[in-house]
């Protein structure tokens, strides 16, 4: 059953033909070297395969870890944007922002940034059992607001003119309990009335619950008040956000631009800890797989001390022997790294799909590191046993001791 062919065994005709075919077309010295490399792999394919497998697994794991390490931070950052705005632009002292502030902010920060205008007024309820009670009315852009504030629990977003989104607690005052929920109600602002139909209820557990939200243009034609606040969800790292804040402050000198510290610091805190954990884990995993390669390859090279002895006995120079083993290890490292890289990208994509429901973008910039690391580990694993073997006389090895 043994498939291991030692120098003493006879070759089958097919194997002889294989040898000839291999040797036929290449220049003598290069072909000899290539032949030795190839035959070493073919003849001990079981051991070579296990060494290659270890190499592939290690490279795949390293690739997946590096890909994830870079990508997960971006993924988490976008998760953190669900917390809402991290920058607020507020007009100074009760004034309004310039009319074109929103378009200017968007043109400066790019289309990916979300900016939502808000304007506030205190109106009075007209009619019903809470006649004359004050309530805060907010004008906003519903489409943008919906994108920015994912945590808002809304039963139905307004989609028709003169429809309002009503906070849970405001609803208790505005909508009489006995009547159907869709019954219109009336508000007045400085004597000007407006008739609104409730579209849906808003629940956040915070200040929004006491407010009534209506469309910005309707708000402005009713009260004449322009937006005083723009909430911005700026993407990117802390440095990117800082740069955005500076840009905005330059763009709108009459307004105050400030970070939402609660959001920014919470994000920085969690992200830093996650990154550190990820880094430590990735390092451990990569080290373990390097260990696996080392264990396999040392065994593989050590196992071939007879080849080593025969080459030396036949008069091969130290340099040639070392070069041969090094080339062998390097070849293993390169092949392992290439195969492992693609498998690793697949694994990273799978993890991204399973955990983040979004694909992890393959990062080919990782490849040189994986390649260099694989070749380095392979070379180290080859050099260690060679250094040990060099002290031993070939004759002793050949005698099988």
């Amino acid at each position: 059953m043994t498939t291991i062919i030692t120098p003493g065994t006879l070759l089958t005709p097919k194997q002889v033909a294989d040898r000839r075919a291999l040797a036929s077309h290449t220049s003598p010295s290069v072909s000899m070297f290539a032949r030795m490399l190839l035959r070493a792999a073919v003849l001990r394919r079981r051991r070579a395969a296990s060494a290659l497998l270890a190499m592939i697994v290690a490279a795949a794991v390293a690739t997946a870890m590096m890909n994830l390490y870079v990508d997960v931070q971006a993924k988490l950052r976008s998760e953190f944007r669900n917390y809402g705005a991290n920058v607020v632009v507020v007009a100074k002292d009760g004034q309004s922002l310039p009319a074109n502030a929103l378009t200017r902010i968007e043109s400066v920060l790019g289309a990916k940034t979300l900016a939502v205008p808000f304007s506030y007024a205190v109106a009075r309820i007209k009619g019903g059992q809470s006649d004359g009670q004050s309530v805060v009315v907010v004008g906003t852009d519903f489409a943008r607001s919906r994108q920015l504030n994912h945590w808002w629990k809304v039963s139905h977003w307004p989609d028709a003119p003169n429809e309002a989104l009503i906070g849970m607690r405001a609803a208790a005052v505005v909508i009489p309990k006995a009547s159907s929920n869709r019954q219109p109600f009336e508000l007045t602002f400085q004597g000007k009335p407006i008739q609104l139909a409730p579209a849906g209820l808003l629940q956040t557990g915070a200040g929004e619950d006491s407010r009534i939200y209506i469309d910005q243009s309707e708000f402005q034609s009713w009260t004449g008040v322009a937006p005083s606040t723009i909430e911005v969800a700026a993407n990117g790292t802390a440095a990117d956000v800082d740069a955005s804040i500076r840009q905005l402050a330059q763009l709108l000198p009459t307004a105050e631009v400030r970070p939402v510290r609660q959001i920014m610091e919470g994000e920085a805190n969690v992200l830093n800890k996650t990154r550190a954990t990820l880094y430590a884990s990735a390092t451990l995993v990569v080290l373990t797989s390097a260990l696996c390669v080392l264990a396999t390859l040392i065994g593989w090279v050590f196992d071939r001390r007879r080849d080593f002895a025969i080459m030396k006995a036949l008069g091969a120079s130290e340099r040639l022997v070392n070069g041969f083993f090094a080339a062998e290890a390097a070849a293993l490292g390169v092949v392992g790294a290439i195969l492992g890289f693609f498998i690793g990208i697949g694994v990273a994509a799978l993890i991204g799909r399973v955990n983040f429901h979004a694909p992890v973008v393959p990062r080919f910039s990782v490849f040189p590191y994986v390649l260099a690391g694989s070749v380095a580990v392979a070379l180290i694993s080859a050099i260690l046993p060679i250094v040990l073997l060099r002290r031993v006389q070939p004759a002793i090895i050949l005698r099988g001791e």
Binding site: T2, T6, R47, V57, A58, V61, M65, L68, V72, L76, E79, F80, Y83, V122, S134, V135, H150, W151, W152, K153, R169, T204, G205, A206, G207, S210, S228, P259, V260, R261, Q262, I263, E265, G266, N269, V270, K273, T277, L278, A280, S281, L284, V285, T288, S289, L291, C292, A295, T296, I298, G299, W300, F302, D303, R306, I351, N355, F356, R399, G400
Partner: protein
């Protein structure tokens, strides 16, 4: 004879045994550390997420509408109902009190600041800073320094370093922070700039001369407000014991299908399971139970998002732990396979002397078992140390290793070592002793 064989094998092949042992130790150490970190990461990140602030708010049941724009309250001050401050320590008596990191009562009062002609309305908030309370036999402290970790105070001595959530000791002493029993106040940074006040100055509010102990910076509405000890705000308002709302910061479990259900429609068993899970909804329910006439609600911005972030990070760590376990298993198998492959001559000799396949296999498995046990124990200790170090350097807190992990890890180590050795032993045993002895392996 058998123990002697094993003993001699270890004595003569120290180098090889050491290599295999090191591989097992390292593999087990990595596996242990990763399992420990992965099981604990949820709790650790949950605590970090508390730096986003409170995730629950308790208000009076019959609360009136807030009329507040840009941090200025336009509602008549004595309007509405209040919670009773005396009920607050009962929060520590809820079922999930260990999960409650802290709570802060709030009592906004509208006060006039400035000289008679230029007087303007400013909101003064009464709260706990780091108040010592007692519930039953348990002493604890709570307040905004725990629940609102992003609040920074610039005072006479401090650098206003950010405290970790729930860890007041971290921030330098009480630099700038007023004492809960004093008549000192914090002034928001924008308000302070408008009033041209700095720490140490006094401010006249409601016919009292109050000392400003620090300037508060929050990046929110509080920058235009005054923050004072709760007792002081109650005196100014003339309502002792009154609290408008309470912010509660709790460690919660990410929402799932069960958490969203209405407790009124549950069967008793489902209700028990719901009640005994730290969902934000069930904690809110329990808060309502202990504080009379209250309504507790989740702050969705904080509560809803932390579930997602938490489950993402936990899922990620779980997958990485699998990768680590896989890599360590492979490393151990590779080391064992190599160690056995090198000993074919020995096997050949044993078989030539009449040893059966079974005897040879048992000998090798016994050696593997010994290696696995020694490596497993060493690796477990090393892994525990590694996890401890990671916890210390990353989260500034302990990552505890459950003792129940030890037998599991040891069993895994033995299993992986056996699995790694099995193929190599089988091949070695099947190998013709003649070839082995001739040295033609």
């Amino acid at each position: 004879m058998f123990p002697r064989l094993v003993y001699e094998s270890f004595r003569h092949q120290t180098r090889r045994k050491l290599l295999a042992g090191i591989a097992i130790t390292l593999g087990v150490a990595v596996a242990t550390a990763m399992i420990a970190v992965a099981t604990d990461i949820g709790d650790k990140i949950n605590r970090e997420l508390r730096s986003y602030g409170a995730n629950l708010v308790v208000t009076p049941q019959e609360d009136t509408l807030d009329v507040e724009v840009g941090g200025v309250n336009l509602k008549p001050p004595s309007d509405g109902t209040f919670l009773n401050e005396a009920d607050l320590p009962k929060i520590r008596g809820t079922f999930w009190h260990h999960n409650i990191v802290g709570f802060s009562p709030m009592l906004p009062v509208t006060v006039k600041v400035g000289s008679d002609s230029g007087a303007k309305n400013v909101t003064l908030i009464g709260t706990y800073f780091n108040k010592a309370l007692r519930f039953g036999k348990e002493d604890f402290t709570t307040g905004v320094r725990i629940t609102h970790p992003w609040w920074k105070v610039e005072g006479s001595c401090g650098d206003g370093r950010l405290a970790r959530p729930g860890q007041v000791e971290d921030s330098p002493a009480s630099c700038g922070w007023p004492d809960d029993n004093s008549e000192n106040i914090l002034v928001g940074e924008r308000l302070a700039a408008k009033l041209a006040k700095k720490p140490g100055d006094t401010l006249e509010i409601a016919a009292r001369q109050l000392t400003i102990s620090g300037i508060l910076s929050t990046g929110g509405a509080e920058d235009d407000q005054i923050v004072a000890p709760l007792a002081l705000a109650q005196q100014i308002l003339g309502k002792p014991g009154a609290v408008r709302r309470v912010y509660v910061s709790a460690l919660t479990k990410p929402p799932d299908a069960l958490s969203a259900r209405d407790p009124k429609t549950m069967t008793p068993e489902v209700y028990d399971r719901w009640y005994c899970s730290p969902y934000v909804e069930s904690i809110a329910y329990q808060l309502q139970e202990v504080i009379p006439h209250s309504h507790a609600e989740q702050i969705r911005q904080v509560a809803q998002n932390e579930g997602t972030v938490l489950s993402r990070i936990k899922g990620l760590m779980l997958l990485i732990t699998f990768a680590a376990l896989f890599a360590s298993a492979l490393a151990v198998s590779a080391a064992m396979a190599t160690a056995i492959y090198e000993r074919r001559v020995e096997i050949g000799l044993m078989k030539a002397l009449g040893a059966g396949n079974l005897t040879v296999s048992v000998l090798f498995f016994a050696e593997a078992l010994l290696l696995a046990l020694v490596g497993g124990i060493a690796g477990f200790s090393a892994g525990a140390l590694l996890a401890h170090q990671m916890g210390r350097s990353i989260f500034n807190s302990q990552i505890s290793i459950e003792p129940v992990l030890f037998p599991i890890i040891l069993a895994i180590a033995v299993f992986v070592t056996f699995a790694g050795s099995a193929a190599a032993i089988r091949r070695a045993v099947k190998f013709d002793p003649v070839f082995a002895l001739r040295g033609e392996g």
